[in-house]
């Protein structure tokens, strides 16, 4: 169980690395938000699933903790795309121009 937890957490961290590099390398505001919104959701969920595996090996009331972490995952699924959406909308209203291939 602990090994599974470490595998899940490391996979989450690798996806976070990809997200961060994407965030730095992408050309404009909108494509950066692409990287941020997707990578964030999956890597956070993977790390939290790893936490569930870790928690389940210790203590006797651990299934309650697992359920609470599942609740957090649920809220991240709702919250993360909504926050992205709000930022995209704000950027669009502020007049950020989408990057075009021939503009450089």
């Amino acid at each position: 169980m602990e090994i599974l937890a470490y595998i899940l957490i490391s996979t989450g961290l690798i996806f976070f690395l990809g997200t961060t590099i994407g965030l730095l390398r992408f050309p404009d505001f909108y494509s950066r938000m692409h990287a941020a919104s997707k990578g964030d959701t999956l890597s956070t969920v993977l790390i939290l699933l790893g936490c569930i595996c870790l928690v389940s090996t210790q203590g006797e009331m651990n299934w309650l903790l697992g359920l609470k972490i599942l609740l957090i995952i649920n809220f991240i699924f709702i919250g993360s795309p909504t926050a992205t959406h709000a930022m995209m909308d704000a950027g669009n209203k502020a007049g950020a121009e989408p990057w075009k291939k021939d503009s450089e």
């Binding site: 996806f15 992408f26 309650l64 609470k68 959406h85 291939k101």
Partner: protein, 162 residues
Amino acid sequence: MKYLYSFIVLFVPWLVLSGKFDLLHVGMGIVCSLLVAYWSADLLFQDREATLSDRLRQLAGFAGYTGWMFGQIVRANLHVFRVAFSPQMHELLAPRMVEFETKLEKELSRFVLANSITLTPGTVTVRVEGNRFLVHALTDKAARNLPGAMERRIANIFEKTS
């Protein structure tokens, strides 16, 4: 009936979050859930016509949809990963804004569609006004697939009234 649903919706999280199963805490939970269910059941369940079997079918459909969605999220991440590490990144990108109208009627299904678009590979919802969606797509291929299979799936779950 709506009072019973509200009571269940309120009481189960109480049990999970309090984590204590002695008489005092469970009793307090029952009293509070009953009071809040009595006062605010109208806020929780707004479409009164839906029957129990309707709600269960929606729940089952939504569970299946969540599983499919998770596969999409993994694909989206691999896509971002591949683009982020490729040396010729600018060749892979062809960003554009796409506008389309959806056939979905309910607010809830539009909300699910907007969030799903954000989580699938290569597309992010920018704005929703009425039934018009403004979407930013990373590649031509992603833009062509809109709204596609997702809208049909959501319509099957939330819009059909038996």
